[in-house]
Amino acid sequence: MKQFILGFLGTLVLLVAGVFGYLRLGAAEVRADVSAPAWQHRLMKFAERASVRRRAPRERSSLPPTDGDLIAGGKLYFDGCEGCHGRPGGPRRKRVLFSPPPELAYVGTQYSEPERFWIITHGLRRSGMSAWGTTYTDKQLWTLAAFVGRMQDLPPSVLDAIQPKQR
C-alpha cells in the first residue's frame, strides 16, 4: 500500500513539475506562423464549444426575424466584424492568425443563435475575438447574431442593402 501511494503521488508531482518546467523553460511554441498540431487545434475547439454551450443563455432572441433586423445586423457586421471574418460575396482569404478567425460567409457557424450572442458579447479567450458587450446594446448584439446565422443564405435584397456603397 505504501508503494502504491508513493507511485501515485510521485507521478502527480512529476507531471506537475514537468508541465511547470516545460512552460517556464520556454519550451512551448508561441509563433502564430507555425501551424499547431491538428490534435491541439481540435482539442481546443472541442473544449471551446463545450464551454460556450454551458455558458450561453437558453432563451432565444425576442426579435422577430425580419429583413430589417438582418440589414441592421449586416451593417454592424460590415462596420466591426468584416475585417477579420470576411465579407459575404468577398473572396475567401487564407489567414495566418492562430487560431484563424472563421470566414463566416464560407464556413458558417456551428453555434446556435443564443451561443453566437454570448460569444459576441463576451469574446473568446486566447484568440483575437473581442468582447463587444460594452460596445453594442443587447438588441444590436442579437441582430448581429441573427445576421451571422443567415450569412450563407441571405435574401438578395438584404445583401444589396448592406453592401457599402461603391464610390
Binding site: G7, R31, V96
Partner: protein, 172 residues
Amino acid sequence: MKHLIAGSLCALALLAITAAAYLGLGLMEVAADARPAAWEAGLMPAALRASVRRRAAAMQNFLPHADATLVAGAKLYMNDCVGCHGAPGHPSDYGVTFFPPAPQFAQAGSQYSDAELFWVAKHGIRMSGMYPQSPHYSDSDLWRLVAFIGRIGNLPPAVAKAIQPPAAPAPN
C-alpha cells in the same frame, strides 16, 4: 514494485479523466471579458516570455540610432499598430477588448529587447490577436518599428513632434 507502478498508472488515469472532464464538460473559461485565474495570469505571461527569450536570435538592430529611423518606424506604427497597442497619450480602447489584451507600449513600455520585439512582430503570438507581420513588412521595416517601440515612452522631442497629426486650422 508492482504496487508502485499500479499507483503511477492510477495517477495517470485520474489526471486524464480530470482533464477530459474539465474540457469536455465546458468548465474551461472562454469569455474574454472574465478575469483570468491568478495561476493563469502568473504562469502564462511567464511562459510566453520564456519562449520568446529562448527562440529569438540575439540580433542587433542594424539601423542607425537616428531620429529619422524613429520617425520612419513611427509612421508604420501609427498606421498599423496603434489600433490595438495605442499611441503616446492615447491608450487603445479596442486593444483591451480581447484576451490576452494587447500591451499598451506608450504607457507600459515593453519588457522585450529589440531582437525579441522583432521576433514577436515577425512571427506573431499564438492564441492571441497578434498576427505575424512578416507577410506585410520587410525585415528593415520591422526593425524601424522595433526601434520606435523601444523608445515610445521616451521619444526625442523632434520625433514626438513629427508624429503628431497636423493641427486643425485655427478658426478665424
